[in-house]
């Protein structure tokens, strides 16, 4: 096991970080990514390359869909895609993050994974405060491309990867703030009550990061992919609460920017049935697994 990025992965990481820094969170970025070939990195360099692009995009608060196009589709072997792709979990009435911008949609339709083009759906824009454009999608026609379980696993991975990078970005922003903001004669980040909120949240975010990466690597293992999504959802809510609490009133302003990450975290939590559905899936999967190991405790 080697958790360091390969030379190729390190180069990719640096390149996409530079690209995002140059363009900021603009809508043009998606075209830049497509033009540079970064939307198709999984085909050439494997799932961890996709993880790197999605992490960097989340960190940069990219305005537009990245995860479904870069990671979810390639993990189910589907690469022939336009730049902007969304994902929904029902043929009718599902809310889609970035939906109004998308040119195609993955559809989790029970046991089937499908794809629908923009022309095959009706889109009803939905106003939202949750860090993305949203639309309600009604699919008229969609082509089967994979089994539903595979698409669900890939989506679980993508939720977890987007969430961990978003959490870590929100934490980094907050650490900067509390290190500089002075009250009672010293930086508020010097108070242990503040430090421990940040430290425990950071530990959960890092736990999500490494679990999400494992889930991407072993993306056929639903125990892992569902675990990653479930843990990501819990950590996302804690990150939202703790980062806003220690940031104070400035944290809720658009100008300050924290909400760009934190509201997205809560949006991610709602996808694919949310934390409770992921957790049930973890239990169901574990119960079905063979257990060829000694037990630490007496069995009935």
């Amino acid at each position: 096991m080697n958790l360091d990025p390969s030379e190729e992965e390190a180069y990719l990481d640096k390149a996409v970080a530079t690209l995002f820094a140059r363009h900021g969170p603009s809508e043009r970025l998606l075209d830049e990514l497509a033009g540079s070939g970064y939307l198709d990195v999984v085909r050439e360099a494997g799932p961890m390359a996709g993880v790197i692009v999605v992490e960097r995009a989340a960190d940069a608060q990219v305005i537009g869909p990245i995860g479904a196009r870069v990671l979810t589709g390639p993990l189910v072997g589907h690469y022939d895609l336009p730049p902007a792709v969304g994902i929904i979990d029902a043929m009718t009435g599902s809310l889609c993050r970035w939906g109004p911008q998308c040119e195609a949609f993955f559809v989790l339709d029970g046991d089937a994974g499908r794809i629908a083009s923009r022309d095959d759906v009706e889109m009803e824009p939905v106003e939202s405060s949750f860090g993305a454009t949203y639309g309600r999608v009604h699919v008229r026609r969609a082509e089967a491309i994979c089994d539903g379980a595979g698409l669900r696993r890939a989506w679980q991975v993508t939720i977890a990867v987007e969430a961990e990078a978003t959490m870590l970005a929100a934490i980094a922003k907050t650490v900067d703030h509390v290190a500089g903001r002075r009250q009672f004669g010293r930086p508020i980040g010097a108070f242990q009550a503040v430090q421990h909120r940040l430290a425990s949240t950071y530990a959960m975010a890092m736990g999500t990061r490494w679990l999400a990466r494992r889930a991407a690597w072993f993306h056929d293992d639903e125990f892992l992919t569902a675990s990653a999504a479930a843990y990501a959802c819990e950590a996302a809510q804690i990150t939202y609460t703790n980062m806003h609490q220690v940031s104070g009133a400035v944290g809720i302003t658009s100008e300050y920017g924290l909400v760009g990450w934190t509201t997205r975290l809560l949006g991610l939590r709602q996808e694919l049935g949310g934390q409770r559905a992921h957790a049930r899936r973890v239990t169901i999967t574990r119960r079905g697994m063979p257990k060829p190991w000694p037990s630490p405790l007496p069995l009935p």
Binding site: M1, R280, P296, L297
Partner: protein, 381 residues
């Protein structure tokens, strides 16, 4: 990144599972790990000897000390499989993970020859005399004294919360050798034979098990001067380096996950509805947290493979998730099992004990959070 186990690592895991099934005393569980009876101690020694004979006890040690320079990943696999099988090695994980390395780091040639051989053969048990009534998380405030008098150090003081003291052959004892100092200065490590006159060990009772932790009194104990490890007054630096090993030494994620498996099996045998959605959600979150702890433990092991620097932030990050994870698993087991979880042998019972202590022992959760705060660059208070 490459997150796969190698073929040889996978083979080692399978070999260990077979070995445990063959060599573990029938019926051995985590309830026997503290060795409440003399028979349990004999079983541990027999198991460790068998491990030693097959070079499974210290494969990660350097070849010059009887190991084969195996990677920390192999050490991790051994820890996962043994801890999750009820730790039939007893306290050997402590010997192999940090007492042995401390001896390699600072021991004399004679200390290395004598102790490392005993440890690698599985024939010695150690305890660690660290905490005192007034020196827990603030370990460097310890007051047990060791005064040089000719060929011996005369030790006086009290240690507390010591695991395995009732069964140990030796104690890695922290004592203050320079009475004029406070804090980390003036502390030494003594390798104390536990059969010396003047050492008294008492079990500290708790609702779960006997011989979980002990008090030790040292009254005018004459410890031979050649039992000093490293330089006099310079023991803290050794402790600082080896405690990083202790922090990632136990694969609690694997054990907790298998405990959840056992709890589900108990529930199904008792006719409890494990399909209930709220129960499945609670159990699922507990499993997911085990996997987060596993992922962080692997990140901490990876960090360890990158160098010997004892400042390893991932060790603290890992522990900040792993400790609360054990408590969460305990409460999930209780929720799942209901009244059946209250029986002494239930999966919930032992897990609750582990979940209660793991955020306290070997550096409390709050200490880990302080370390993470330093890593994040937050200002000191």
């Amino acid at each position: 990144m490459d997150l796969d186990w190698t073929d040889s690592e996978q083979k080692l895991r399978e070999e260990l599972r077979s070995f445990i099934t063959e060599q573990r005393r029938p019926g051995w569980t985590h309830h026997e790990r503290d060795m409440p009876t003399a028979e349990d101690r004999h079983a541990v020694i027999a198991f460790c000897r068998a491990m030693g004979e097959r070079q499974l006890l210290t494969p990660h040690w350097p070849a010059e000390y009887g190991g084969r320079d195996a990677s920390p990943w192999e050490q991790t696999i051994i820890s996962e499989e043994l801890w999750a099988a009820g730790e039939p090695r007893g306290p050997q994980y402590m010997n192999t993970n940090w007492i042995g390395p401390a001896l390699m780091l600072a021991g004399t040639a004679e200390q290395k020859r004598f102790h490392l051989e005993l440890i690698s053969r599985g024939e010695a048990m150690w305890c660690q005399g660290f905490s005192e009534p007034d020196a827990g998380s603030d370990l460097a405030s310890l007051r047990t004294s060791a005064v040089r008098d000719g060929d011996v150090y005369v030790v006086n003081g009290q240690k507390i919360w010591t695991s395995y003291a009732h069964a140990a052959d030796y104690c890695a004892l922290l004592a203050r050798t320079d009475p004029a100092t406070k804090g980390a200065e003036g502390i030494s490590i003594l390798l104390v034979p536990m059969d010396l006159p003047g050492i008294e060990v008492r079990d500290i009772s708790n609702p779960w098990v006997s011989h979980l932790v002990h008090e030790m009194w040292f009254t005018d104990v004459g410890v031979p001067a050649d039992c000093l490890l490293g330089e006099e007054d310079k023991g803290w630096e050794i402790v600082r380096q080896v405690l990083a090993n202790e922090r990632v030494g136990i694969a609690r994620h694997e054990c907790s996950e298998r405990t959840l498996d056992a709890a589900v099996a108990w529930a199904e045998a008792a006719g409890i509805d494990t399909d209930d959605e709220s129960v499945a959600e609670e159990i699922g979150m507990a499993y997911a947290t085990c996997e987060a702890a596993r992922a962080l433990n692997y990140a901490a092991v990876h960090e360890r493979t990158q160098g010997q620097d004892s400042r390893r932030p991932m060790a603290a990050v890992s522990r900040a998730v792993t400790g609360p994870m054990e408590g969460r698993v305990a409460h999930a087991c209780l929720e799942l099992l209901g009244p059946a979880g209250l029986s002494r042998n239930s999966p919930a019972d032992r897990q609750l004990l582990m979940g209660t202590t793991s955020t306290i022992a070997a550096g409390s959760l709050e200490v880990q959070l302080n370390l993470i705060a330093r890593h994040l660059g937050l200002p000191k208070g």
